[in-house]
């Protein structure tokens, strides 16, 4: 009878696994940070490139193309318009000027230019302070048109106006890089549109702005759903026409008088100063964590680095621009990560000070204060998502960037910190003095 073969299980070298895990994550973090600061050419000629996305004071960096500075923090375009009444013999009143500014503000916010400003100057003129992004100069002029939108029959007779539009939007069609305008009608508009498109099958209708046909979409079938999408626009006229559909015409007629460059609304050097000032805060917070929590602090600093790289990347991806609102979203989520780390580490330190083992302290910190951190982040993420759905203007636009930052925080606090902390404990040991300052003194006492 043959002897049973003993199956010996090779013990996994936990230290080696931890070292490899930490090394891989460190390389990935440093590579992302390097590309974030320097950008990267994606082909030999540099025709396709990944733009830098982490703001630095360097003027040669490409981050300003990824996060286009808004009128508040970047050079801006100042356009001054003369205002005139719509009808002959009418007057330019203070009330009409206020209404025009309000509607222009809504149009600009609709286009995502939340930092842009409209104001009444010299009693009867309107000044627009716009981000000088170089790609929307014509769009700004178009948005200052009166913008009396209507759908008309081929003979030019209007059959539907902006008053029947419930919501309008615009978007890129990635297949041909053109833009489309989408709209949704109210119940009365839905019926009119269904009847008229049924009548015009095989013909085309006209999209009229201030009495001029700007597009002639063909009609192949009756559109009875009360919504449609019109293709064939570009990045400038799509946003202008969609904003006119959404908000209707300006109460005054504006004529461009002058257009010039201007300093950022919040000061000439604000862009670089804010980058340095925020970097100083990161340094202070990092030093606090390093001195107080030592190896744990180093992991906290690492997580903060990942957070900033990822949050800025997502902000650039969402085309948020470099504005006060974007900085609030990115640095607000950074502050939340610091808060979550404080919750966790303070509990861990308190346990270590009472003589508990590091593994148990970390476990209890996750189970107690860690849950508060996750609760706060989860509630904020839920709130941000709801506000994105509810608000299509400034608050919703801000919440898009903020939600991405909070999502990064949740991933870091829910997964990454456990991996980093677990690996660090496996690799460097469980000596309490490694994870909190003052342990040796307390032990000696």
């Amino acid at each position: 009878m043959a002897k049973p073969v003993k199956q010996t299980k090779k013990p996994i070298n936990s230290k080696a696994v931890a070292a490899v895990t930490l090394a891989v994550l460190l390389v990935l973090t440093l590579a992302a940070a390097y590309v974030g600061v320097r950008g990267m050419n994606l082909d030999n000629q540099g025709l396709y490139k990944l733009l830098a996305w982490i703001p630095t004071p360097s003027h040669s960096s490409t981050w300003r193309q990824a996060l286009v500075p808004g009128a508040d923090l970047g050079e801006n375009l100042v356009q001054t318009y003369a205002a005139a009444p719509v009808a002959e013999g009418g007057e330019v009143t203070e009330d009409l000027l206020k209404q025009t500014v309000s509607k222009m503000g809504r149009r600009l916010a609709f286009g995502g230019w939340n930092s842009a400003q409209a104001e009444v100057v010299e009693g009867n003129k309107i000044r627009l302070t716009l981000p000088n992004d170089g790609t929307h100069d014509h769009a700004f002029e178009m948005m200052a048109q009166r913008g009396d939108f209507a759908f008309a029959a081929p003979d030019g007779t209007p059959f539907l106006t902006w008053e029947n539009v419930k919501a309008a939007n615009y978007g890129l069609n990635p297949q041909d890089n053109s833009y489309a305008i989408g709209f949704q009608l109210d119940s009365a508009g839905k019926q009119i549109f269904a009847d008229k498109t049924a009548e015009l099958i095989g013909q085309s209708m006209q999209l009229m702005i201030d009495g001029t046909a700007v597009a002639n979409p063909g009609i192949n079938q009756a559109l009875t759903e009360g919504m449609a999408s019109l293709p064939g626009f570009n990045n400038e006229n799509s946003v202008a026409y969609a904003s006119m559909m959404q908000y209707g015409p300006l109460p005054l007629v504006l004529t461009l008088e002058s257009s010039e460059s201007g300093a950022p609304l919040f000061g000439a050097n604000v862009q670089n100063t804010v980058i340095w000032a925020l970097a100083a805060v990161v340094l202070l917070v990092s030093l606090y964590f390093l001195f107080t929590y030592r190896l744990g602090g180093l992991i906290a600093v690492w997580l903060m680095g990942i957070q900033l790289v990822a949050a800025y990347f997502l902000a650039a991806l969402a085309r948020s621009g470099f504005t006060v609102a974007t900085l609030l979203a990115v640095w607000g989520s950074f502050g939340l990560l610091v808060y979550a780390l404080l919750l966790l580490y303070r509990s861990m330190k308190s346990d270590l000070d009472r003589g508990r083992a590091i593994r148990q302290s970390v476990k209890d910190a996750y189970a107690g204060p860690g849950k508060v951190a996750i609760d706060v982040l989860a509630a904020l993420l839920l709130l941000a998502v709801i506000l994105i759905i509810v608000d299509h203007q400034q608050i919703g636009a801000f919440m898009r960037t903020f939600a991405l930052g909070v999502l990064v925080d949740l991933v870091l606090m829910g997964i990454v910190i456990r991996i980093l902390m677990g690996s660090a404990i496996n690799l460097f040991g469980t000596n309490s003095a490694l994870y909190t300052s003052g342990s040796k003194k307390r032990e000696a006492a």
Binding site: N114, Q117, V120, T273, Y339, L342
Partner: protein, 213 residues
């Protein structure tokens, strides 16, 4: 730290109500809620008020589902208090520091401070209540203990937030200082409410809606 008392709850709210009333009064009178240039015309106040209502509703629902009805009510009322008080303080301070178009975003963002300040207090009270019988610790003792227990964390959170706000404020001109003022107001209001409002509200709502687990 003063002892928490059910009787003192209305007193703590008097100051808030007074400031809120003053904020509404100066805004209606046209003295307060001042904006730079014509920025006021660009601000969608209806969107701000809807967002504030959504914030309060989501806070209540999350607290009620995650913890209990008492916690949900406490968090919801604190969120309402903080949002209104922040807006009122902004209305008053804007007389000296006019606001910009970004004001609604900053007022809504102040809910982050409310969560960071009040949530640990509520969680601590909830845990102390679960761990102790009413004979060992009554609700008022629990509230006092929770405020004291979380003081260090809340102060550290205030310092980090204040550092970030100051870093932003010193980077630009006076308009930027004014623009960031709602954040400073939100931070102060949230710290105040976590000490003076949240524990009282929890004591009241736990007595009325809470059940021993």
């Amino acid at each position: 730290m003063s002892n928490v008392s059910i009787k003192s709850a209305p007193k703590a709210l008097y100051l808030s109500l007074l400031v809120i009333a003053a904020g509404i009064a100066v805004a209606l009178a046209g003295i307060g809620l001042k904006f730079l240039g014509s920025a006021r015309e660009m601000v969608a106040f209806d969107a701000l008020y809807i967002a504030m209502a959504v914030t309060v509703a989501i806070t209540f629902i999350f607290g009620a589902i995650r913890y209990s009805l008492a916690v949900g009510i406490t968090l919801g009322v604190v969120a309402l208090h903080d949002q209104l008080l922040t807006l009122a303080v902004v209305a008053l301070v804007s007389i000296a520091l006019p606001q910009t178009v970004v004001m609604p975003v900053l007022v809504i963002f102040s809910i982050v401070f409310t969560y960071c300040q009040s949530w640990p207090v509520i969680r601590a009270m909830h845990e102390l209540r679960t761990a102790n019988s009413t004979r060992e610790m009554d609700n008022e003792q629990i509230a006092t203990a929770a405020v004291r227990q979380t003081a260090g964390l809340r102060l550290a959170a205030v310092i980090v937030a204040a550092l970030l706000i100051v870093a932003g404020a010193v980077s630009g001109n006076a308009a930027l200082v004014g623009a960031l003022m709602p954040l400073a107001a939100g931070l102060i209001v949230s710290f105040y409410s976590s000490v003076c409002i949240t524990p009282h509200l929890w004591v009241l709502s736990a007595a009325r809606f809470g059940k021993r687990k």
